[in-house]
């Protein structure tokens, strides 16, 4: 699979940044609007899958190391579990939301009832959203990439 026609490649290269930005927006606003780490990560990963389809899996495979993606995924998972363990340290309980209501980072408590979006709320939830987002982007992208690359190879040395 050597990629698709020039029209498709051009369209994808225009659409790709917008997909990224939309996905990152969904991740960052996970505690305010519908969405979150998983959903935004899936959007970004589908943008990457679009790239794989348009340019061919070998083109992407040469430029992005799967080992590095897997390491990124590990880092995302470690970040998530580390935030949970920080809850153990600061709020004496695993998964404790130690930032909520502390007036530090993300620590504002919103007014009760319908409010406008305030990024600076949610406690540890935005941090967890970011960690899960990194994890899902790297995870789904590496799955798609490896499977596409494997199906494009004629010979498998199993």
């Amino acid at each position: 699979m050597n990629g698709m026609s020039k029209i498709v490649k051009t369209t994808v290269s225009i659409l790709f940044p917008f997909t990224m930005i939309f996905g990152l927006y969904v991740i960052a606003h996970g505690h305010l609007t519908p969405g979150g780490g998983f959903q935004g990560g899936a959007i970004v990963a589908s943008g990457c899958a679009m790239l794989v389809i348009a340019y061919g899996s070998e083109w992407v495979f040469e430029r992005i190391k799967t080992k590095r993606l897997a390491a990124f995924e590990s880092i995302g998972g470690l970040g998530f579990i580390a935030v949970a363990l920080l809850g153990l340290v600061f709020s004496t309980v695993f998964f404790g939301n130690f930032l909520a209501g502390s007036n530090l980072l993300f620590g504002t408590t919103p007014a009760t009832g319908s409010t406008l979006a305030d990024m600076n709320t949610g406690g540890v939830l935005p941090l967890m959203n970011f960690a899960v987002g990194i994890k899902v982007i790297a995870g789904l992208f590496v799955i798609v990439l490896v499977m596409a690359y494997a199906s494009s190879q004629k010979e498998w040395n199993t």
Binding site: N97, T109, L125, Q153
Partner: protein, 90 residues
């Protein structure tokens, strides 16, 4: 008929009886009977977790441990897929 077809038909029939009987005993659509836990979450999501989005507060705070399991599942799937393709993708 093959042995497998007979067994499959049997399983299918039993499952059919179970599922069809069960759904008509649930509360009607749109009128959940017992909502104490969910109402508590909706009412307290803003002052307990500081989040406007009740679903996110359930996913990451009230049932955060499930989400750790969920993240683990993706991790396991990636490890599994990379392991299965380990000779194709050196």
């Amino acid at each position: 008929m093959e042995k497998r077809t007979i067994a499959a038909t049997l399983v299918f029939a039993i499952a059919a009886v179970f599922f069809l009987f069960s759904i008509f005993l649930i509360h009607p659509f749109g009128k959940p009977g017992n909502v104490a836990m969910d109402d508590h979450i909706i009412a307290n999501t803003q002052n307990e977790t500081g989040t406007n989005n009740a679903v996110t507060s359930v996913v990451f705070d009230y049932r955060g441990f499930d989400t750790l399991g969920e993240a683990t599942i993706i991790f396991a799937a990636v490890a599994g897929v990379l392991m299965i393709f380990r000779r194709v993708n050196p």
